[in-house]
Symmetry: C2
Subunit: 352 residues, 2 copies
């Protein structure tokens, strides 16, 4: 099948670019002695998780249990889930999964740790649990090195759990602050006699600087496999590194300066990530996707040029690859004009 | 099953409120002699489309062929698809569908009309095609009454098509402008000897004023079945009219003034629709969901109150109901604390 045979909107993944992206960061990790544990939220495709592992990743990261269950089913044997799990349904599923694969979890409160301990203890399991540190993101996580140390001690004492190390999702461009928080926490843990087996960091924007943060032993990049307009805007990747493109059709040219494409927020999401507009149109790099409705993208085009005609097909590099993956049931792997893979986005929509 | 048995995040639909919403607008349409053709994009659930039809709707509106195929399969026999269809795949599917149910379509250019004509003519069909008018939305549509009349004439002459009337998706709160555009177009069509069998308008914000726009014979409300925070903000509905609530869990209380819930942009989307924050928390009406990541919602809570604890479950009225439906594979119909229906969102993710 060729790209011209696909209907629109369709998500195309350039396999050559995608594989180059995966290999490049793996090489970086190997050179710096970092463990690479990519986050599957960007692609949600079992085949691509297996590719990442086959090229050297120690395992994968999933944000939801439903994602982890899909990846385990597909043969991934080592999964980290850096999200507080609560409630009887999720705890039962988590210990089921921990009985089948190597699953590590996280917590940022004693409440979460106790729930995990109760569930794991009943099954006779010992689950590694990392303590989440808020190193500046202002989201979840222990708020100070002392609080992280105290929680680590609590985890260490709870039956069914093993203190697995420290985890952070750091804010972009603040590596010094992250480094300071982690250094102090490591120091406090050492003084408390706690061994920190692992320090796991994340994010794609600062991924080429992961080795600069002392103590970090593992990194969890997500977007790097596809890259997107936000990664380009942040200087982490180039447009040529963007493996994901959305094939769209111009469905209306109501005025000389406006084109409407058949891709709106149900294709791109409403995420701008501080980018100008909602995507980069490869064929019209100066055109701006200035507004989205669910099924319509509004494009400002130069009024003095011919611009795209009704029926023309365009390629759009989205602002945020992860959310596009979550909106499609399948994506197409392409080489040149050939479609040589259809991947089911099997972990799409796993909200629980 | 009871609500307490559901895991989070889950989408709850209060059946009593939902049915009241459907009946109320149907009564309004009956009183004003308007045809009601609800847009299924808000719910994407066949059972609810059938409910709308059983309570008096003349049929439904779908934005995508894939949605229309799902609804036709579920027994809906009259579907309007107000979206420019282009390309061999969609045209083949459209005429297939037009052979099975009463399907009406739309166009805003001769290019689109010719494609429909070719496809319909080859099958020996005569498909009603409405001409889209841009009455101020600035999206698709003929840009002037004269352009609409000229396109209507072209449609009228093309084999395989029948000029089906006028269609507009009007901007909110601009009914005078919409009325003026339609009145002039109707006048021009009459002078050209063109019968305008139908004038179809849409949108929920102005739905109680649909009868004020002279010439409009049909309305296509979407959100009214569930309502949402945007409908409340626009004064069209009250919080008590909101049938959709998202059940979420507080997964972290990192600081006295911040709570994190297990619902982010993968649950609510990033749509604000000019609302303040990303949803209304029923149990904490003064708390603000001030930021979303894919799986995290950041909630600002009063630092001097106890606020929600880790593990607490909350109910959130989303800003935009339609996009929430598109992010869930199923939703739950509830009466009081009882879950008495599980509806598959069968038309979810139909991007083509």
């Amino acid at each position: 099948m060729r790209i011209q045979d696909l209907d629109t909107p369709s998500v195309l993944i350039d396999r050559e670019v995608m594989e180059r992206n995966v290999r490049r960061f793996q090489t970086y990790c190997n050179e710096h002695g970092l463990r690479n544990r990519p986050h599957i939220k960007t692609h949600k495709v079992p085949e691509l998780a297996r590719l990442q592992v086959s090229l050297g990743a120690v395992g994968v990261t999933c944000q939801k249990l439903g994602e982890a269950e899909v990846m385990a089913e597909a043969g991934v044997e080592d999964i980290f889930l850096p999200y507080n799990l609560l409630g009887p349904q999720k705890l039962a599923r988590a210990v089921d999964l921990a009985g089948r694969i190597r699953l590590s979890l996280t917590c940022d409160s004693v409440t979460v740790a106790r729930g995990l301990s109760d569930a794991a203890g009943r099954r006779g399991l010992e689950i590694p649990v990392l303590v989440e540190c808020d190193t500046g993101m202002g989201r979840c996580g222990a708020q100070s090195p002392a609080a992280a140390r105290t929680l680590a001690q609590a985890v260490d004492r709870l039956p069914g759990l093993r203190f697995g190390g420290l985890m952070t999702y750091p804010p972009a461009r603040r590596t010094e602050r992250t480094a300071a928080f982690l250094a102090e926490t490591l120091d406090l843990c050492a003084r408390a006699g706690l061994q920190v087996a692992l320090v796991s960091s994340g994010g794609s924007v600062d991924m080429w600087r992961a080795h600069e943060v002392r103590g970090v032993t593992e990194h969890r990049p997500g977007t790097y496999i596809y890259n997107d307009r936000y990664m380009v805007a942040s200087g982490t990747a180039t447009l040529e590194d963007c493996a994901m493109r959305v094939l769209v059709t111009v469905v209306s040219r109501p005025t000389r300066d406006r084109a409407i494409i058949d891709a709106g927020s149900k294709t791109f999401s409403s995420d701008t990530l501080a980018c100008d507009g909602y995507g980069h149109i490869v064929e019209y790099p100066d055109a701006k996707i200035y507004e989205l409705n669910e099924e319509h993208g509004y494009v400002a085009v130069a009024a003095d040029g011919p611009g795209p005609a009704v029926g023309d097909r365009l390629h759009v590099v989205p602002n945020h690859a992860c959310v596009v993956s979550n909106l499609f049931d399948r994506v197409f792997g392409v080489r040149g004009d050939e479609v040589d893979a259809t991947w089911t986005v099997a972990a799409r929509g796993k909200v629980q």
